[in-house]
C-alpha cells in the first residue's frame, strides 16, 4: 500500500467513525437521552434554574407573587382574576409534571408516556370516561362566577409552561406537556372525588355471597360495625342536631329482596380483578374536629384537620396564600386547582374528612342483538358506543370501546363463565356535571358561617364531613355532596346490591351522567346530616349517624372506628377539663394510641399456649404495652407485624373457597371484623393461627434486623418514578394506620396535611409531608418532611412576606 493510499484509507475510516457516531446519536434511540442529559444543553440540567422573570405582562391585571422561606407562594392583587392568573403561574412553575401525570391518569393517557405497565389503568379511565364528565362539568361552570377565575388560572399555568425550563420529569420521559385547560381543572375535581367515593365493595360482597354464602358474607363484610362513636348524637357534643323528617322519601323504605335470602351472582374473576386493581384504596380517610367557644381558654373556637391520602413526592397538596381586598385565604389545594380546598381565611377555618356515603351503584341488563341493545323498562335502547385508541409507548396501541347506558359507564372484562357477571353499568355522581368549584370558591370568599352554608349548597361532590369554625364563634358540621335516593317501584332501597337495570330498579331521579343533573331525587340539602352549632365535634371517618336516627340510606359501610373512638374519648376528656387550647388540639393530632391493641387482646391471649418461651416473652411485651405507637418501642413493631401475619393466615385458611382465579386477599375483612372471627374461620383453630402469626411476625422482624418500631416505621415517600434522587429521605416516625397521628408505612399513606386553626386571632399552625416546591433541585423539595415526621408545625400566617418573585403587570409592558 502506498503512503498516500494508506492516508486516504485512514481518513475514510476516521470519517466513517465520526460520521457514524454522530449520525447514530442523532438518529438512534439515544437521541432523547442526549437531549435530556448532555452537559450544558441537557434539559435535566437546565431545570435547576427555574427562577421566573421578575416582571410578566398579564391580561388579567396587576398582582404580586412572593415566595416565603417555605416556598409557599403569597399572592396579592386587587382583582381576583389577576390573583388566580398568578396562582396558576405558581402551580405551573412548581408542580407542572404532577399536574400532567394526574391528568394523564384520569384521561387514560398514561401509557402513551409510561408504556405497557399502565394499559389496564388507561383502559379503566377511558371506559369510565372521566374526561367527558369533566367537559360537562366545565360546561356547567364556565358561565358562573368561578368560570373567569378558572380561565385566568389556566392562562397562568400556561404562561409558566412557556416561560420556564421543562421540569426534570418531562426530560426523563422525553415529552412536552400540552396546555392546561379548564376541563383539566374539573378533571382534578373528578380525581379526588373518585379517590374518596369510588368503591366496588358492593361487587365484592355480592361475590362473597355467591361463593361463600350469605351468612359468611355478612360476617366478613358487615355493613355496620358495633360501636357507639357515631359523629352525630354524641352526648354533650352533637346531641342537639336536628333529625330530618325524611320528606323526600315518599312511599316508604324497603329492601324489596330480603338481604339474607336473595340469590347473588359473583362478578367474573377478570372483571373483579380489573376493577379491584382500579379501586381507590379503602384507607383514604381523615381526621377533623372542632371545639366550640364556650369550652376554649380564649373564648373562641378552634378546629383541626388532617386528611389522610397518599404520601408522595411531591406532596398531593400545594400550599398557597391569596390576598384580595375582600378576603385573604391560606391553605392547600390540589395542584391544577385554583382555590384553597382546606385552610382558613380571615373569617374562619375549615376542613374535610371522608364521609363514606354511597354515591355509586351497579346495574345489570337484559340484552339482545349480540349485546348491542339493552332493555330499560318497556323500551329497548342501544348502548352508546365509541371506539377509542389508547396510545402505548414502546408497544402496540390498544383499541377500546367506550360503552354507556342511561346509568353511566358500562364496564366489562373477560368471560368467566355463565355463572358470573361480566358486564355492569356504573352510576356514580361524579359522572355528572358538578358544581363543587363554585362551592369551594364560596368558602374561600366567605365572611361567616351563613356564607359557608350557602356555598355548601353548590358542593355537589365529593361527599365529605365538613367542619368549620368562624371568628364570630360559629361552629359547623355538615355532610356535603349529593347522595342519591334509590328507588325500586317507587320505594327507597339501599344501594347494597347490584340492581336489575332493565327493571329500572334502584334508579336515581334527577341524575344525568355526562350531562347536567337536576339532583331532584337526591337527599335534600336541608336533610343531609348536619349540626349547625355543635358544642364540639369529632370526625374520623366513623359512622356519621346511627341508622335508626336518620330516615335515608346514606352509606353502605363506614371505616373502622379505631380513630373515631379514640378521638371522641380524648375530646370528651379535654372538653370536660375545660379551657381547651390550640396546644391541646395539637397534642390530640399527635396522639399515637393504637386502639387495635384493646380490640385484639383476646386474640393475642389465645396465641400464648402455642408459643415458644422466647415468643411468650415477646407476647408479654405486647400485652404489657400501653398502645402508644412510638418509634422507640418494640411492642408496636411486634403488634403491627402480628396483625399482618394474622390477616395473611386468615386469607389462607378461610378464603380458599373463592374461585382460584381471584386475589383472595382483596376479600379479607377489615381489622375490626377480623378480631371478632372465631375458630370456624381458621385451621385448626384461632389460637393456633394466632400463635403461628405471632411467630411469623417475630421471624420477619429478626430477618429484617429491626429492633424498635422506628426501624420499620420510617417515611417511605417516593416519587412516581421511584428514582433515588427524586424520592424523599427516610425518617423514623410514630403512629400507625389506626392512630390519629396517622401513618401507614406499607400503603405509603397518612396525614397529607396537618392544620390547627384557633379563631382568636393567633397564628394557626400547619405542616406538609415533604415540600411545596416540586422541583427536585429546590431546597424546598422536602424541607418540611423531617418536621412532619416529628410532629412539628410551622406558622400558617397570611401576611404578604417573602422575596418578590414576579410582578404581574396588566397591559403590554414586559
Amino acid at each position: 500500500m502506498t503512503e498516500r493510499s494508506g492516508d486516504t484509507t485512514r481518513r475514510a475510516l476516521l470519517a466513517a467513525v465520526a460520521g457514524g457516531a454522530a449520525a447514530g446519536g442523532f438518529l438512534g434511540p439515544v437521541r432523547g437521552y442526549l437531549s435530556a442529559f448532555a452537559p450544558l444543553s441537557g434539559g435535566v440540567w437546565d431545570a435547576a434554574d427555574d427562577d421566573p422573570p421578575l416582571r410578566i405582562a398579564s391580561d388579567h391585571g396587576d398582582a404580586t407573587l412572593r415566595y416565603d422561606d417555605e416556598a409557599v407562594p403569597r399572592i396579592g392583587g386587587d382583582d381576583e382574576t389577576a390573583i388566580y392568573f398568578a396562582a396558576g403561574y405558581a402551580h405551573g412553575a412548581d408542580r407542572l409534571f404532577q399536574m400532567d401525570l394526574q391528568r394523564r391518569q384520569m384521561r387514560g393517557r398514561l401509557s402513551a408516556v409510561v408504556g405497557e405497565a399502565t394499559v389496564d389503568s388507561d383502559r379503566f379511565h377511558v371506559r369510565m370516561d372521566f374526561g367527558t364528565a369533566a367537559d360537562a362539568t366545565w360546561d356547567l361552570v364556565r358561565d358562573t362566577e368561578a368560570g373567569p377565575l378558572v380561565e385566568a388560572y389556566c392562562d397562568g399555568v400556561n404562561r409558566a409552561r412557556a416561560d420556564l425550563p421543562t421540569p426534570v420529569e418531562f426530560e426523563l420521559l422525553d415529552y412536552e406537556p400540552g396546555p392546561w385547560t379548564p376541563a383539566d381543572v374539573m378533571l382534578a375535581e373528578k380525581q379526588i372525588a373518585w379517590t374518596l367515593t369510588g368503591s366496588f365493595r358492593t361487587l365484592r360482597k355480592e361475590t362473597l355471597r355467591a361463593e361463600l354464602g350469605a351468612d359468611a358474607a355478612e360476617e366478613l363484610m358487615p355493613n355496620r360495625l358495633d360501636h357507639d362513636a357515631a359523629i352525630l348524637d354524641r352526648s354533650g357534643a352533637t346531641d342537639d342536631w336536628e333529625v330530618p323528617d325524611g320528606d323526600a322519601i315518599r312511599g316508604g323504605v324497603s329492601d324489596p329482596d330480603d338481604a339474607s335470602s336473595r340469590a347473588s351472582t359473583a362478578t367474573g374473576p377478570d372483571l373483579g380483578g380489573w376493577l379491584t386493581g382500579m379501586e381507590p384504596p379503602a384507607w383514604a380517610g381523615s381526621n377533623s374536629w372542632a371545639v366550640g367557644a364556650e369550652h376554649t381558654e380564649s373564648g373562641d373556637p378552634i378546629m383541626a384537620n388532617d386528611p389522610h391520602l397518599s404520601l408522595m413526592a411531591p406532596p398531593v397538596w400545594y400550599e398557597q396564600v391569596l390576598r384580595h381586598d375582600d378576603y385573604q385565604v391560606r391553605g392547600v389545594t390540589f395542584p391544577g386547582v385554583p382555590f384553597v380546598i382546606i385552610g382558613e381565611n380571615d373569617r374562619g377555618a375549615w376542613g374535610f374528612t371522608n364521609a363514606g356515603c354511597d354515591v355509586i351503584d351497579f346495574y345489570e341488563y337484559e340484552t339482545r342483538a349480540d349485546g348491542a341493545e339493552y332493555r330499560h323498562g318497556d323500551a329497548w335502547r342501544s348502548f352508546e358506543t365509541e371506539r377509542r385508541t389508547i396510545e402505548v409507548a414502546g408497544a402496540p396501541d390498544r383499541d377500546v370501546t367506550v360503552k354507556k347506558s342511561v346509568h353511566g359507564a358500562v364496564l366489562s372484562a373477560g368471560a368467566g363463565g355463565d355463572e358470573f357477571r361480566d358486564e355492569l353499568g356504573v352510576a356514580w355522581t361524579g359522572l355528572s356535571a358538578t358544581n363543587a368549584t363554585n362551592g369551594i370558591l364560596g368558602i374561600n370568599r366567605s365572611r361567616d358561617a351563613e356564607d359557608v352554608d350557602e356555598a355548601l349548597r353548590e358542593f355537589d361532590e365529593p361527599t365529605q364531613c365538613f367542619v368549620y369554625t368562624g371568628r364570630d364563634g360559629s361552629v359547623r358540621y355538615r355532610v356535603t355532596g349529593r347522595v342519591p335516593v334509590r328507588r325500586t317501584d317507587g320505594e327507597m332501597v339501599p344501594g347494597t346490591r347490584v340492581f336489575d337495570g332493565s327493571a329500572r330498579a334502584g334508579e336515581w331521579a334527577g341524575y344525568t351522567p355526562y350531562g347536567e343533573s337536576s339532583w331532584e331525587g337526591f337527599i335534600p340539602f336541608e336533610e343531609m346530616p348536619h349540626d349547625d352549632d355543635p358544642d364540639y365535634v369529632g370526625t374520623a371517618n366513623q359512622r356519621i349517624v346511627d341508622d335508626a336516627d336518620y330516615p335515608y340510606y346514606l352509606a353502605e359501610d363506614y371505616s373502622e372506628p379505631f380513630r373515631g373512638i379514640r378521638l371522641w374519648n380524648r375530646l370528651d376528656g379535654i372538653v370536660d377539663r375545660g379551657d381547651v387550647t390550640p396546644t391541646d388540639l395539637r397534642d390530640l393530632q399527635r396522639d399515637v394510641h393504637d386502639g387495635r391493641l384493646e380490640h385484639y387482646l383476646p386474640v393475642l391471649e389465645d396465641a400464648r399456649s402455642g408459643l415458644s418461651d422466647d415468643a411468650r416473652d415477646d407476647l408479654d411485651t405486647v400485652l404489657d404495652w400501653d398502645g402508644e405507637a412510638e418509634r422507640n418501642a418494640r411492642a408496636p413493631l411486634l403488634f403491627v407485624h402480628f396483625l399482618d401475619a394474622y390477616e395473611g393466615r386468615f386469607v389462607a385458611d378461610a378464603l380458599g373457597g373463592l374461585d382460584g382465579r381471584r386475589d383472595a386477599s382483596a376479600y379479607a375483612p377489615n381489622q375490626w371484623v377480623l378480631a371478632t372471627l372465631g375458630d370456624e374461620w381458621f385451621e385448626p383453630d384461632r389460637a393456633s393461627a394466632a400463635a403461628d402469626a405471632f411467630e411469623t411476625a417475630r421471624d420477619r422482624i429478626e430477618s429484617e434486623g429491626w429492633e424498635t418500631y422506628g426501624d420499620y416505621n420510617r417515611t417511605a415517600i417516593d416519587h412516581p418514578f421511584d428514582q433515588s434522587f427524586l424520592n424523599y429521605s427516610r425518617y423514623p416516625t410514630d403512629g400507625s394506620a389506626a392512630t390519629l397521628f396517622n401513618f401507614r408505612v406499607e400503603a405509603g399513606a397518612g396525614s397529607s396535611w396537618r392544620q390547627i386553626c384557633p379563631q382568636d386571632g393567633t397564628t394557626s399552625r400547619c405542616i406538609l409531608p415533604g415540600g411545596n416546591d416540586g422541583n427536585v433541585y429546590s431546597d424546598d423539595y422536602d424541607n418540611q418532611l423531617r418536621r412532619w415526621a416529628n410532629g412539628e408545625y410551622k406558622p400558617m400566617d397570611r401576611s404578604m412576606r417573602g422575596d418578590p418573585a414576579v410582578r404581574f403587570v396588566g397591559g403590554d409592558d414586559e
Partner: protein
Amino acid sequence: MTPGGDRRNRWIATALALVAGLGLASVHWLGLVAGGTLVALPQRTWPRGVAAGVAFGVLTLAATAASLSLTGGLDTALAMTRPLGVAVGAALVGGAVGGLVRGVVG
C-alpha cells in the same frame, strides 16, 4: 513561520475554538461533537486532536458543574446516577468523535 509563532497561533485558534465550541454545546448536544472538532483542528496531529476533543468534553462537564453550583443544584445533580453517566459518556465520546475529524482533514 517560526516554531514559536506557530505554537502561539495554534493556542489562539484553540482558545477561539473553545469559546465557540462551548457556545455550540450550550444549545445542542451536537455542539459537543462540533466543539470537539473545532478544538481539534488547530492541533498538530490527529491523535492530539482527539485528545483535545476529549479535553473539550471534560471542560463541558466542568462548565455544567459550575453552572449547577451557582444555582445550588450541584448536590442534587451528583445524585442523579444515570443522567450523570449519560452526561459523562456524551461529553467524552462526543468530544473524541469530534476530535477524530482532525484526522480526516489531514
